[in-house]
Amino acid sequence: MLAIKLAFKNLLGAGLRTWLNVTVLSFAFVLMIFYNGMIDGWNRQSRKDTQAWETGEGQFWQPEYDRYDPYTIQDSHGAMSEEIQSEIAKKNLVPVLIAQATAYPQGRMQGVTLKGIDPDQTILKLPTKALSKTNDSDYAMIGKRMATSLKMDVGDRLLIRWRDKNGTFDAREIEIISVFKCDVPSVDKGQIFLRLEVLQEMMGMENEATLLVAGENFKHRDFKNWVFRDQDFLLADMDKIIQAKKAGGTIIQALLLIIALIAIFDTQVLSIFRRQKEIGTYIALGLTRSQLVGIFTVEGGAHSILAALLGAVYGIPLFLWINKVGISMNYTQGMDIDLPIGEAIYPYYSLQLITISIILVVISATIVSYLPARKISKMKPTDALRGKLQ
């Protein structure tokens, strides 16, 4: 208690130098929390969007299906049992049939994935209603990214070629009836949405699907010949990418933290050298050397407490403001990013994040303060009093 009181007294007494150190450290602190908060916010948003647009409350897959291996699609289709049909009728499941095809926009050749989905589904946020406007089988819906890569818009016609379940080539011209906007690239890129029964007919796969997306009201149960994939499985790769992004940011944070810590270390070394007489006086007043090491360590470490406070002073209003307006991600719109990314990211600061950041900064500041302070325990009090040490 005494040490803490003394530490703050001394720190505040040192004035400008203290505040310079504290300011740099508070930058490291705020940046650390901000960056991680941004990534966490992005992650939460991505998970939420991906769930809403693509994964639902988990999916049942055909056993062979592997979303990262397009070659498995050919064999990944299976009939839907009556049990499944009744869940679909209750809107607890939505079946999706997936097929591969080649599109020929403007005479180019481009591999695409065809997805058949029920236009009246309500489980996914996909605006499939657009497909129910007509009974004509030649209508399709695509996302904005796909529209850009195909250089197509609503009303344009596109020739696609595919092979049915027997491998026989077939080709057809489809009309783009709707282009939807979506933050989740994986439901947009390279994909063309058709009505489920249209794709089933095209492929010769009546009453078949590749996967079933579960809705909120679905009570979990198993279906024969279908494998359940839960949220964690479906979002695992996204989590990994986001973690990697987090790791990338640590370099800048670490650099800033290291600069701040070097400044503290330097201040400590200098302060112990310049305050020998004071140290001698403390000893004369009856402080033990270990108490002194403690005082100086706490004093250096207390930079981090001040930094946290200072950081809070400008960080909290800044964070609140950012959370109100969001971080504009408009500049990423034209970019090829494989993660769901909204127009704006709203950072999310968890208690855990803030606690960990504080602990990290306090501990590291304390360590760099302790290292030079150890020198005190080797000082001869008489020399210290005379200011004779080098």
Partner: protein
């Protein structure tokens, strides 16, 4: 090798009794073009959007079951070898010193970026087993009179639901072929030209193969040298030959 397969694709014998005319015609074609063995040195010219690539290869074949191809140029492909025995296909790549067997989806990939897939080369079922054929008319192509044969699939798993073949009425060689989707959409077209007499047979020296849905000039196969019924040692058609 592509040249071999593409041409042999067109030369399968037809035994369908309902299409006597068509069968007779195709029989004659077969007789004209068939040989036990062939050794062909050819260029494959791939017309891309920006550039044109030429791949040179030397192929050995025996009937429709066995063939062996070695690529000679360009440098990047040099030493790559391919072996087909009935319905199996192996590729040896010198850069990795590995032999892999292509199967399933890999067969749908394009051969060296051309308009032709491995699968196109693998199809060796007799056309008559898969299609109902009939003569639907005559046409003059490049000053030659031809019959037009129309083939319609009678099995489920034919890659192309329909085909049209134009055959020279005097020389009994195919000059043109079109492949159709189930919907009737024209998918691919083959044009055979530069017909010359080699060792007493009429033979097209140039074949153009084109994906009709895509822009571009397609892929040309040009024969530089061909030998019929030459002796080909048996070891050529073995996996051991791939690594040599």
């Amino acid at each position: 090798m592509k040249f071999l397969i593409t041409t042999t694709l067109l030369l399968c014998t037809i035994t369908d009794s309902f299409a006597q005319d068509a069968k007779t015609i195709l029989d004659k074609v077969d007789k004209n073009m068939f040989s036990i063995t062939k050794i062909i040195e050819s260029d494959m010219v791939i017309y891309g959007r920006r550039n044109t690539r030429t791949v040179t290869s030397k192929g050995y074949s025996e009937g429709t079951d066995k063939s062996f191809t070695e690529y000679l140029a360009p440098e990047r492909e040099k030493g790559t070898k391919m072996l087909k025995l009935e319905d199996r296909l192996w590729i040896y790549s010198p850069s990795t010193d590995r032999t892999i067997q292509l199967s399933g989806h890999m067969l749908r990939q394009s051969v060296m970026g051309s308009d032709l897939s491995y699968e196109d080369m693998m199809e060796d079922r007799k056309l008559t087993e898969m299609y109902d054929a009939k003569v639907i008319g005559e046409e003059v192509i490049d000053g030659r009179n031809t019959w037009i044969l129309e083939l319609t699939a009678i099995v489920d798993d034919a890659a192309y639901h329909g085909r049209k073949i134009w055959i020279d009425t005097q020389r009994y060689i195919p000059l043109q072929e079109e492949l159709f989707a189930k919907s009737g959409q024209l998918l691919k077209k083959t044009v055979l030209t530069d017909v010359v007499k080699i060792e007493g047979r009429w033979y097209p020296r140039k074949v153009n193969y084109k994906d009709m849905l895509k822009d571009g000039k397609g892929t040309d196969f040009i024969i530089k040298d061909i030998q019929f019924d030459a002796k080909i040692p048996e070891y050529i058609f073995s996996k051991a030959a791939l690594k040599q």
